[in-house]
C-alpha cells in the first residue's frame, strides 16, 4: 500500500438503550489504501455500522467516537453536517444493499444521477446529462437512453444496483463503501457489478471498502479482509489466505458453509465462545 486514503483508529459507535449503552462498534482500526478491503462478519457484527460511521451517517442518539478518523490526513470525525455533505458523495460514497430502497421512486434514473453529479461538480445540466449517460454506459447498461428516462420500478434489481453505482461514481469519489452491493443480485449480474468496481480500483486508484457476509466472494474479490465479530475486528489477513484463517470464529464461519466440491453428511455449526468478544488480537493493531 503506497498511500493511505483513509485512516481509522479505535472507532466506536454506541447507542443508548433502555438497558444501558449498546456498543455496535467497539474499537475498530484500519488503514485503507488504493485497494479492495473486505469487511466480513455476520449480521450484527458492526460491519455496516462501521461504514455508516465513516460517512457520518449514524443518527443521534447514536454516538461515534474515534482516536482518529482521517481522510487524506484531514479529520472527518463528527464534522458539522454541512461540511460532511461536501465530502459525502464527492470524496467518499456508499452503495447500499438494496437499490429498491435507495433510489427515489418518483424521479427518473437520469434525473437522479444528474442531481448527484451537479450537486458535487456544479456543472451545467447538459454536461451532467452527458456524464449520466456516460456513467450508465460505464456500468454496462445496454440502452442508456432508455434507462435514463425510466423510473426505478421499471428496471430490474441488477440494473437498479448498477444505477446506484453509476450515481455514486459520477462525482469520482476517492473511496467507495459498498455495503453488500451484490447480495440482492443474481450470480451473472453479480460478477458484472464486481467487475465494474474492480476496474475502478485498478484504473482510477479508488479505495474500496467491500462489506459482505460472503466469505468465498470476499476471498476471491478483495485484497485484504477484516473479520468482524461483536463490533470488533477479530482477524485481519490477506484475502488469498482467508482459507487458512486461524481465528476459531473465521474458521467456524468457513466450515459452516456447504461446499460444492465435496459432500458432507452434516454441516458443522459454529460454537461461539464468550472470549471472542474481548480478546486481544494476536496479530497486532
Amino acid at each position: 500500500m503506497t498511500d493511505t486514503l483513509l485512516s481509522v483508529s479505535n472507532l466506536r459507535v454506541s447507542f443508548p438503550t433502555r438497558s444501558g449503552v449498546f456498543e455496535a462498534v467497539r474499537g475498530v482500526s484500519f488503514d485503507l489504501g488504493r485497494e479492495r478491503l473486505g469487511v466480513v462478519g455476520e449480521s450484527g457484527s458492526g460491519k455496516s455500522m462501521t461504514g455508516r460511521a465513516i460517512l457520518g451517517l449514524v443518527r443521534p442518539p447514536g454516538k461515534v467516537t474515534a482516536g482518529r478518523l482521517e481522510l487524506n490526513g484531514q479529520s472527518i470525525l463528527n464534522l458539522p453536517e454541512k461540511q460532511m455533505r461536501a465530502i459525502r458523495g464527492s470524496r467518499i460514497s456508499m452503495v447500499m444493499q438494496d437499490p429498491k430502497f435507495s433510489l427515489n421512486p418518483v424521479m427518473t434514473v437520469g434525473q437522479q444521477i444528474m442531481e448527484s453529479y451537479r450537486l458535487h461538480s456544479g456543472q451545467s445540466g447538459r454536461a451532467a446529462r452527458e456524464k449520466a449517460l456516460g456513467m450508465l454506459h460505464a456500468v454496462q447498461i445496454r440502452d442508456p437512453e432508455r434507462v435514463f428516462d425510466a423510473y426505478p420500478h421499471e428496471v430490474s434489481g441488477g440494473m437498479g444496483q448498477r444505477i446506484m453505482i453509476a450515481m455514486m461514481l459520477a462525482p469520482d469519489p476517492q473511496i467507495l463503501i459498498a455495503d453488500e452491493p451484490t447480495s440482492a443480485l443474481d450470480v451473472s449480474v453479480r460478477n458484472e457489478v464486481l467487475r465494474i468496481m474492480d476496474k475502478l480500483v485498478s484504473d482510477r486508484g479508488m479505495g474500496l471498502i467491500f462489506i459482505s457476509h460472503d466469505l468465498n466472494l470476499v476471498a476471491q474479490f478483495c485484497d485484504r479482509v477484516l473479520i468482524m465479530y461483536a463490533g470488533r475486528v477479530v482477524e485481519e489477513l490477506a484475502a488469498k489466505d482467508l482459507h487458512n484463517a486461524r481465528h476459531p470464529y473465521t474458521r467456524g464461519l468457513l466450515e459452516s458453509l456447504p461446499r460444492l466440491d465435496h459432500a458432507v453428511e452434516r454441516l458443522s455449526v459454529l460454537e461461539r465462545q464468550d472470549g471472542w468478544r474481548d480478546e486481544i488480537r494476536p496479530n497486532g493493531a
Partner: protein, 257 residues
Amino acid sequence: MLKVEDLNVWFGDHHERVHAVRSASFTVGTGESFGLVGESGSGKSTILRAITGLFGSWSGLVEVAGQRVSGRHRSRAFHKAVQMVFQDPYASLHPRHSVDRVLSETLHLQGMDQIDARITRLLDSVGLGRGFRFRYPHQLSGGQRQRVAIARALAAEPRLLLLDEPTSALDVSVQAEILNLLSDLRKERGLTFVMVSHDLSVVAHMCDRLAVMRGGEVVEQMQAATLRSGDAQTGYARDLLAASSSYRRETTPDPAA
C-alpha cells in the same frame, strides 16, 4: 409424491401477459429431495406458488400423492399433505402473534387435537425450547423465526415440504443450523422436499436431484453429483455453475497497490 407436467403459469392479460413458467415438467419421488435452481425471474418460486394454489392462472398437470389439483382451490387433504416455508422469516410471521398463537391457530385450522401437547412437541422438534412459546417475532433472531416457520409448516404433519429459499436471509452459521435441522426432519419423518435456491452449494448439499431453470423453462435436470462435478449438459447450466462458483478478476491488480 409430486408430478408436474407441462406446467404453464402466466400473469396479466392480452398484450401484458407475462409467461412466468413455460411447460415445466418434473417428478419428485416419495422421500426424495429435489432442487430448483436458476436466476431471479426464472420461475422457480412461481412453480412452488402454483402448486400450492397461490396463483389461479396456470395450466398443465400437477399431481400430489396421486391426486390431481386444479385452479386455486386446494382441499383440506392437500394442505395437510403439502406445506411451504418461505424465504423471509421476518415477513412470513405475523408481528403481533406470539409463537403460541401462530402454532395453535395452525393446529386448530388443521383440525388437530391435543393442541397444547402438540405445540410443545413442535417446538422441541425444531430445537426451540418451551421458553420460546410465548415470545413474539421481534423477540426472536432470524434463525429462531425460521425455526418457528418450519414448526408451523410441520404442524399439519405434511409429507411434502416446499422450501422457498429457506436460508437465504440468514447468516451462514445460522444457515448451517437450519439446513441440519431440515435434513434431520426429513430423515425422521420421511419427508419429501422441493427446495428452491439460488445457492448451488446449498442445493448440492440438500438435494438428490435438481432442475436448472431459465426464463420459465426447465433447461436441464441432473443429479446432485453432476452439479458437484460441473458436468452439466447444456451450456446455460455450465455457465451458471461457473458463475456461481467463482469470481475471476479480468485485470491484474496494480502491483503498486
